[in-house]
Assembly symmetry: C2
Homo-oligomer: 532 residues x 2
């Protein structure tokens, strides 16, 4: 497929601005064709306006039709074949197998949302039957269910060019809800975005979705994202990326004359606690698995373990030494793009200057800056060092982690209490450790969205019970997740019908329950119909 | 009971500031004893800090204990007897029967939340079982459920001194979730707040809840509310009141170093559409019921019908004339307090000056300003008048409504399309009207949180399916409701457990499902246990 570098506004291609940018191959330092155009205000307006007019026809479509659309997307993505993987790999430095696994995840979550829509119970239908004889006032018939909120703007992540970008769970959950989507393509992988967007548009055409249900806009400048989030036609926006970027868009969304929710997932420090039972039993194998988790994807995960805590002991020293060796033998690898690579290099340089930490180890081989390579780094500090230097609690995106030696379990809990909100917190331990450290677990339940036992937070399982969220600064709203089927909740709101005629109700609220969804009837869950 | 005018900070009474204010009896123009103290920064800090330390012990309590606490509150409220009703009536001008009905509602919603907690399925427990044989990576055991977010600040409404204040669904849903509560008492009815707060504290003591699970702070200045919302110990805040007040607190909450959700319910215009079938069949009785809805509670409801639309016709003229007569015969009555009364009077004066509307009718008897009395007003305009004057879309709190004569169904839909978000939208019609006006219904489903057929939005049924929310400016977040059991969702967030040992899981996630809650197991709803 020939890439055009143009915006895809519904079924129309557009390239009004002469301002352009290119993607680069970070491993080769070369520029990738074609040039991509910055979206203009009028193009942004056209995309959102088209999404606005698509909203009613799209949400009116039967659930089955929306599910078919999602399945068609999964098929079109598979039909892109190696072209998608090759381009994603060229634009991000990700090896092809990683790109293939991202595509597998897209197919999985897209089909999962299709299944969610077909099954139908996600609408949370509730019925409270009337009682005309109630005193002093008759009780009305009250029913409610979830409805889509309207057009959604989506900002994908740099680190998952396939799985958390145009084809991410943000897009699929919005479609599942019945919301049109306008994507702001990530400027780091615009070609991957264009390929993916064309697959979505083919699926929309094949399943006769209204024009405007999906548009793709390009832009490297902040102006494009800012203008998009300010557009009055939007109902919500979703973002995955840095704290600075997410917070900026969050403020813009809140300051609108009509504010909208800006759901940002902004990464976190993801603390790991190595408890004595685990270190006693297997400090060497934990060091192996830890360094693997730290360096997978060149450490470019929002769930990367940035802080590791253990009690000062012989086993902790063994673990640290083994981890140091593993880091030393890890070969530097290419980061996503020059910007992220530069931020990593200056973050490391700053850490090397700080008195609060000391360098424990690093990749033995030098990184090649021409290839945007990052070496892995391991730092070490004490409880005092950490608590005296708040910058150590901040995420540095890349294969770097700090080991914190604690003097006592109480010290460990005290550190946990000072942590910011995090996507995850991990404990390695024996089962008895969990009971002995109940106070630590209690604190972590307040701080994190996901607790992992004897594993690592990287590699997020795509399923109904997954929660990829957490207290700020992990996200802008801890009630919501960006991965797993609960992600649909960001794009829906309840609508209530009082004394509404049965035939005119949304199908999931009708007496007969024709779709057989789970409903709450007078407070009881049931799939039965109601005798009208 | 002797009222003290002091803050109730956990079990301690406090009155640091010498700055005080009093409540007034709006019907008599008299001052009510005692004087209430403005909360100081240190008192605000003490209340939130106590709530923070109460959070872990409170959420650790078994669900049954929290339900018992809620039931004990309902009992203590009943035990207050007439004293609560008398004080509420004196502070707000509400007749005693209205105060009694508010108390009934408190008992109802408090017991409903107790029942919700006992039943337990609100935690939305989800389990996806592991598959160690999966390729390329084993599938982990992933489980999640809702947990409380932390201490909540609550700002009650002026117009429901009992039902949407200290004892409102905000407080009860926060307790149900497991969140401590700090109330900023409404300065219009501080004595009612003190009585109610003492009832809550007695219930907390009787059921051995940790100190700090509940505190009450007084303040008339914005400084108290601002300092409270800025306190780093809070996890969320809920507010019911004006658009200006809600928006101001929303901005403060978003601008915090760590932003928190500020759930504001800010009232709305609540449009009513009188369709031809209804007017043909019963224009006189609709005029009766409409004026009753308009004037109940002296029009002081956030669901008051502020805009009524009909097609120009003989029946519409009949309806307008009958409504005019009913309004003329309605006797002016006392509003909540001098501030609201003054805002109503100046709002009416402004409307009388506008060229976009003409006065259709008003209460024949003059209102007595010494008693804070409001006359009812009915204005009339055309589609052009309305669309040319955006101020007519704004809510004026009190017994006033504007009738809008439309030239055609298309005009009516065009007006609906220009409406702001609203808590409710109402249609009076024959069933065939709903089919004929499908386009109107479609628009209203985008604009409102609740759709009512042949009824009125005032008088909100307290039940599982109720939704009291809607797109901005009705609320700051359309996903959430402040009435009905879904209100608990504002104060909870998912926490996910990966490969966590069964015995250490929250009880609702344990294999055996000891509480028998509904769970989603591998995507299917069930109450069955899991073979571990």
């Amino acid at each position: 497929m020939t890439l055009t570098g143009k915006h895809l506004i519904g079924n129309r291609e557009s390239s009004e601005s002469s301002e352009t940018f290119s993607a680069a191959n970070p491993a080769l330092g070369t520029t990738l064709e074609p040039r991509y155009h910055e979206a203009t205000e009028s193009e942004i307006d056209a995309a959102v306006s088209l999404a606005t007019s698509a909203f009613d026809p799209f949400r009116r479509r039967l659930a089955e039709a929306r599910a078919d659309f999602l399945d068609a997307i999964a098929n079109e993505v598979l039909a892109l074949g190696d072209e998608l993987l090759d381009r994603a790999s060229a634009e991000t430095g990700h090896p092809l197998p990683r790109c293939a696994s991202e595509r597998d995840r897209v197919v999985l979550h897209t089909r999962q949302f299709a299944e969610l829509v077909r099954e139908g119970s996600w609408v949370d239908a509730r019925i409270d039957l009337p009682d005309p004889t109630r005193r002093p006032l008759p009780k009305p018939d009250v029913r409610s269910l979830m409805q889509p909120v309207g057009p959604i703007a989506i900002f994908g992540a740099s680190n998952f060019p396939i799985a958390i970008s145009v084809l991410g769970a943000d897009t699929m959950s919005a479609f599942a809800a019945g919301c049109p989507v306008v994507i702001k393509a990530h400027p780091g992988h615009p070609g991957t975005c264009e390929l993916a967007a064309r697959a979505v548009l083919r699926a929309a055409a094949a399943t006769r979705m209204p024009e405007g249900v999906f548009s793709l806009l390009h832009g490297k400048s902040h102006a494009v994202g800012t203008a998009l989030v300010r557009h009055p036609g939007l109902a919500a926006a979703a973002f995955t990326g840095s704290l600075a970027g997410g917070r900026a868009l969050f403020q813009i969304a809140n300051a609108r004359p009509i504010p909208i929710p800006l759901y940002a997932e902004m990464g976190s420090v993801n603390p790991v606690f190595m408890l004595p039972g685990a270190l006693k039993a297997r400090s060497a194998s934990i060091a192996d698995s830890f360094v693997t988790a730290l360096t997978t994807g060149v450490g470019q995960f929002c769930t990367n373990p940035g802080l590791v805590l253990g009690l000062e002991s012989e086993e902790w020293s063994d673990f640290s030494e083994k981890a140091r060796k593993n880091v030393a033998s890890w070969s530097p690898a290419t980061m996503l793009h020059a910007g992220i690579h530069g931020a990593y290099e200056s973050g490391i340089a700053a850490l090397l200057q700080r008195e609060s930490v000391e360098l424990l180890g690093r990749s033995a081989r030098e990184a090649d800056p021409a290839k945007c390579e990052a070496a892995a780094y391991l730092f070490r500090t004490t409880q005092q060092g950490l608590l005296g230097d708040p910058t150590l609690f901040e995420e540095l995106f890349g294969p770097v982690s700090t080991l914190v030696g604690c003097g006592s379990p109480e010290d460990m809990i005290a550190i946990a209490e000072t942590l910011d909100g995090s996507l995850s917190a991990t404990i390695h331990g024996a089962e008895t450790d969990l009971a002995d450290y109940a106070g630590l677990v209690e604190v972590l339940q307040r701080k994190a969205g996901r607790l992992i036992f004897n594993g690592y937070p990287v590699g997020i399982e795509v399923c109904h019970s997954m929660h990829h969220g957490g207290p700020y600064p992990a996200t802008t709203h801890s009630h919501f997740t960006s991965i797993g089927t609960r992600a649909i909740r960001r794009f829906i709101r309840p609508v209530c019908y009082q004394d509404w005629p049965d035939a005119m109700l949304p199908i999931e609220l009708q007496n007969a329950n024709p779709r057989g969804v789970w409903r709450m009837l007078n407070g009881q869950k049931t799939r039965d119909g109601v005798v009208g």
